[in-house]
Subunit: 161 residues, 2 copies
């Protein structure tokens, strides 16, 4: 089995869409997935992009991805890397592709001068946590994730101060 | 009591440092706070910054801040806003400054075309949650936050694949 992992190239937005939609399906938010391949390529190949992506190919077929964005920590006063989506298609799981993607991402983080990578996972996702715990990452539990979006954002922005 | 909230200006890095260090102290990570005022200003006033900050002044004195960075969601294929630090100095708390900062941030998010703002808070921080719940934001609990940093990042990047 040949696995190749490399940065995404122009024209591969449709493959990325399949990979990130698979993750949305597994996490039960496919109904909220509205992005198009063009949206993703526009962000990835912008002049000064804030996002990046590695794609894993298994025997030449897209099998997984690690999609990240630039982030920033005030405590360190530096840019860091946030891993937004780590996806391996069900048919390609249990072959070490997730770990290989994470490791290539760690190499890329170092090349870009990011001192750390961080990400979130659902408390119920024991399979992912098993992988993450092997990387040497530390974790905190019990975070609460807030989201003020769309109509709620508009209402609050326009509320009486 | 006069409260003014506006974007940070060059030269106000030292004030921002005081505000974000106060948050680090309240959350018990001041020992990990290594940023300087210069680090923060360099990021804020870069040619194409990924960060931004609102400062609240109370009777002309810096009283709080909302420091954010650009983020991205694959599900929507769009940039969104991440609130990294919301800080109000202890002496200025309970005067509505936190809510006022959040509301100005919501206005700024709309002006910049971000469809949502998201942020994290500690499960134990009931005081902050009381404020957040009033904004109309929704939340998920039980997230696990992973961080692969510094020596651990280097070890993993250099590990045998």
């Amino acid at each position: 089995m040949t696995i190749e992992i490399r940065p995404i190239r122009p024209g591969e937005g449709p493959a990325l869409l399949v990979l990130t939609r698979a993750l949305a399906e597994a996490h039960d938010y496919l109904d909220k997935y509205t992005a198009t391949a063009e949206d993703l390529e526009r962000a990835l190949f912008a002049p000064d992009p804030i996002v990046g992506c590695l794609i894993a190919f298994c025997e030449g077929e897209p099998a997984g991805c690690a999609f990240w964005h630039r982030s920033f920590t005030t405590a360190r006063g530096r840019e860091i890397m946030y891993l937004e989506d780590l996806s391996v298609l069900p048919a390609y799981q249990r072959r070490g592709i997730g770990r290989a993607l994470l490791q290539k991402l760690a190499v890329e983080a170092r090349q870009r001068g990011f001192p750390s990578i961080y990400w979130l996972t659902m408390g119920w996702n024991a399979k992912a946590q098993g992988l993450y715990d092997q990387t040497g990452a530390v974790h905190d539990e019990g975070m609460r994730y807030y989201r003020l979006a769309d109509e709620a954002l508009i209402r609050f922005a326009e509320a009486r101060p």
